[in-house]
Amino acid sequence: MGVIVVLIAFSLTVALGFLAAFFWAVKSGQFDDPETPSIRMLFDDKISSTNKNKHKKS
């Protein structure tokens, strides 16, 4: 009996964590634009960041 209470408490905590993650994802706007991030992830960050540094130095 005791162990099942502990297990359920634990599983609920984990599940609540996922629910919180879902809330965060929705509220931060991840469900608003399903299209752009799929394109954005293909960009190479490196080029722009090194260029930026170069530019600042010059």
């Binding site: 629910l19 706007g29 634009d33 954005r40 722009s48 260029n51 930026k52 170069k54 530019h55």
Partner: protein, 814 residues
């Protein structure tokens, strides 16, 4: 005549256009114009050339030189406040709609603009909406700087009058997703905790403490579903009841309360384990239905009015100084300068000598009109060619075109939405029957076994809950909307589909709807032209910007072109060119009479319906080119098919010249109306509606806006769905209109599907009622029956609508 073809095959490094005339070279790359070259140089300077690596020829062709004066009005604090999203100290966020966003490179560049302007903190693009949001520091840059930067690199934001009017800050409704998340979370967990109950495992000694433990957990998990996820249904039912009406949410709420109350009672009294699993599952499925129903086409805009087309500002001339002022502050008598390709914001009188105005925005007619000094030009016309001065004669909101929006049709709330759906209409009967059965079984059981009577009563209320009924409409209409959109008809929302299916009368606009504006047919009437002569005509027309010359050049499609020794164009009238010892005149009758030895009698009696361009070579009249707008492909057979079951009408703003060509398409002369003003079109539809007709209007221009709005269902045709379209219920891609009859019958079929699925859900309710009235509705039966009925309805509506669509020849996959 030494020159020969000079057409090169190099493409512009920036925009990919062919570099036809003066090819410009910078950094060993070729550019088609100075604008493209400038953009490249800017990007190169700031090491942003990744732009070109992501997508070849990513750029937008940039019109030469953006003048700083144009954005003067962006200094006005009042204007800035209306345009920005929010301000937090010196950090400001502003969003722009940029129609030019078209590829991954655009996203990359717009999100890296902080490399050019350090005041920009970040940029974020929404590709589907073609929108970019900048966060910037207002001490180190300004809104005006950003707009100018965007314009310089070919991404001019669309700043329209409408943005100044109301607060357009979008409030995103994400609550539905959260509610669904909560319901799903609780549904899953409660099912898990109800498992021992399903399998009847609790025979052991400790079972009682387990029961209490799981029962308490279930109550705790069900509470947020009742208080958060289902609250919209309860509120809506309460609102309906307090207005003495019954909508579908009333029986749903009865079910919700019965389920929750009964379960709470069972657990607290220790008589059972409750129906919390069915309860949360029920809410979960209902919310899925709601999300399906809310599907919208974010990239399309269905409620634009004239304010979305007029510019925010215009250049006013006062005391010889040019000022950029917001359009809504223009007064009668103000003198304004309108440049090439800019819109006239209000009815105004021309003070320059003459200019050409393109009214295609308003009428759909692409050929510009030549007006002379002192003529009144209407708001919405686009100036073509040289910049011209006008004196405002009416305020923006009182102009000829904008008056349309003063009409009754545009007042008040959207009447179409308030029409109740079929599900709402049957729900009073449904509710009364359910309560009747519940009371009846209560009465009967009170006679037989009073202790069980209330259990049975609540069981009937629980099982009769119209979950499946509530799901049939959103799922069927959601999938109808989806299929129609795959076939090029984008409907505003599921709530207007019923009007589409009820259509019995269809009215068409002519220009741009029945005829295709970009697709002109030309042929030559007169003496046959030699290959050389054709080459002269083609070569000289190439240099002209007039749409008719462009069409001639495009249609003649001559291989080798010549450079004229001398060429001279009178804008809007015609051109003269010299090739060695051949002289050529191309233009209007008046132009040719003025410029050549020809007299009026040399011209044939012209009774042509469309435009004509006359040709004269070496002072000899050769003949004329005749332009006709082609009918859209398949429009003839469409009208023939429609005339069987619908009454069809033509409402045209043009004159009757072309009526002979259309006479076979419409039932009779009376159903074709010409010379219709926007208000007349609106009134015509209003009349039909008063006769009890359900009118479908199809149009494209702003002059159809009134008719589209009054009609029961308005479809705007647009060859580019992201471009211009007036307020309407649906936007159709140009070439999809030939299937209109199929769309109509498909939408009718969709409502039959709804009826059918109502039948299925009623069967489930009957089975459930059987269990309930006999006292056999165990939590397990309820937990199986409710999700099963919901899933059946989802699967049924999804597959049947697709089967029907497939049989009708519609596309059902991407």
């Amino acid at each position: 005549m030494s020159s020969s073809s000079t057409i090169t095959t190099t493409n512009c490094y920036h925009c990919g256009e062919k570099c036809v005339e003066d090819e410009l070279i910078s950094d060993e790359k070729s550019f088609c114009c100075a604008g493209c070259k400038t953009v490249f140089e800017i990007l190169n300077n700031y090491d942003l050339c990744t732009y070109y690596e992501l997508d070849e020829a990513a750029g937008n062709t940039v019109p030469n030189g953006i003048e700083r004066k144009r954005f003067d009005y962006l200094k006005d604090e009042e204007v800035i406040e209306k345009l920005i999203d929010f301000r937090n100290g010196t950090t400001v966020s502003a969003s722009f709609y940029i129609p030019n966003i078209h590829c991954p490179s655009c996203i990359w560049l717009l999100e890296n603009l902080q490399n050019i302007d350090e005041g920009i903190l970040s940029g974020k693009v929404n590709f589907l909406k073609r929108k970019v949001t900048f966060v910037y520091n207002s001490t180190s840059t300004s809104l005006r700087n950003i707009v100018e930067l965007l314009s310089t690199i070919g991404y001019e934001p669309n700043l329209k009058l409408g943005q100044l009017e109301s607060d357009q800050r979008e409030v995103k409704d994400r609550r539905l997703w959260l509610k669904l998340g909560v319901a799903g979370f609780c549904f899953g967990n409660i099912m898990l905790f109800s498992f021992p109950e399903y399998l009847n495992l609790d025979q052991s000694v400790s079972s009682n403490s387990f029961k209490i433990f799981f029962g308490t957990l279930n109550i705790v998990l069900a509470l947020p579903v009742l208080l958060y996820s289902s609250v919209d249904y309860l509120k809506s039912a309460w609102a309906a009841l307090s207005q003495k009406g019954i909508n579908l949410d009333v029986p749903i709420s009865i079910g919700i309360i019965a389920l929750f109350g009964r379960s709470l009672y069972e657990i607290l009294s220790g008589t059972g384990s409750g129906y919390f699993d069915s309860f949360t599952g029920f809410i979960f499925f209902l919310l899925i239905g709601k999300i399906v129903q809310q599907k919208t086409f974010e990239q399309l805009s269905f409620n634009r009015d004239y304010k979305s087309y007029l510019p925010i500002s215009v250049i006013k001339i006062s005391e010889d100084k040019e000022l950029s002022v917001p359009v809504d502050k223009l007064e009668i008598g103000d003198q304004v300068t309108i440049r090439n390709q800019e819109l006239i914001p209000a009815d105004a009188v021309l003070v320059s000598e003459e200019t050409q105005i393109d009214y295609s925005f308003i009428t759909g007619e692409s050929e510009p009109v030549l007006i002379e000094k002192g003529t009144l030009a209407f708001a919405g016309g686009k100036v073509i060619g040289t910049q011209s001065d006008f004196v405002i004669s009416k305020k923006v909101e009182h102009s000829y075109l904008t008056q349309l929006w003063e009409n009754e049709a545009f007042k008040g709330e959207d009447k179409k939405i308030s029409v109740t759906s079929f599900a709402d209409r049957i729900s009073p009967y449904f509710t009364i029957i359910v309560i009747g059965i519940a009371l009846l079984s209560l009465a009967i059981w009170l006679q037989i076994e009073p202790s069980k009577a209330f259990t049975i009563f609540s069981a009937v209320l629980i099982v009769a809950c119209p979950c499946a009924l509530a799901l049939s409409t959103p799922f069927t209409l959601g999938s109808t909307l989806n299929i129609l959109s795959q076939n090029g008809l984008f409907v505003r929302s599921t709530s207007v589909l019923e009007s589409l299916s009820n259509t019995d009368t269809i009215t068409f606009d002519k220009t741009g709807t029945i005829t295709e504006s970009g697709n002109t047919k030309i042929d030559f009437v007169g003496s046959t032209l030699s290959a050389d002569e054709l080459r002269f005509i083609s070569s000289s027309c190439r240099t002209s910007t007039h749409p008719l010359s462009k069409t001639i050049y495009k249609e003649l499609n001559t291989k080798s072109l010549l450079a004229p020794d001398d060429i001279h164009e009178v804008p809007g009238k015609g051109l003269f060119a010299n090739f060695g010892n051949t002289s050529l005149w191309v233009g209007s009758q008046n132009f040719l009479i003025e410029q050549t030895d020809l007299s009026y009698s040399d011209f044939p009696d012209s009774s042509e319906s469309g435009s004509v361009v006359h040709i004269c070579i070496d002072n000899k009249y050769k003949g004329y080119f005749r332009f006709e707008n082609n009918l859209r492909e398949g429009i003839g057979s469409l009208l023939a098919k429609l005339s069987g079951s619908y009454s069809t009408f033509l409402l045209s703003g043009d004159n009757e010249k072309e009526s002979s060509r259309l006479v076979g398409l419409f039932p009779n002369r009376k159903s074709m109306l010409f010379n219709q003003s926007p208000i007349q079109k609106l009134n015509f539809i209003e009349n039909l509606k008063q006769q009890g007709k359900e009118v479908l209007m199809i149009g494209d221009g702003l002059n159809d806006a009134g008719a589209l709005k009054t009609s029961s269902f308005g479809i705007a045709i647009s060859d580019d769905t992201s471009a211009f379209s007036p307020a309407c219920d649906a936007i159709a891609e140009g070439d999809s209109i030939k299937n209109l009859d199929t769309y109509l019958s498909f939408s009718k079929a969709a409502f039959k599907v709804i009826l059918f699925s109502f039948g299925i859900s009623l069967c489930y309710n009957l089975v459930g009622l059987g269990f309930a009235v006999t006292g056999h509705l165990s939590p397990l039966v309820a937990a199986i029956l409710m999700p099963l009925s919901s899933v059946t309805i989802m699967a049924f509506t999804y597959s049947v609508t697709r089967v029907i669509a497939y049989r009708m020849g519609l596309r059902i996959w991407e």
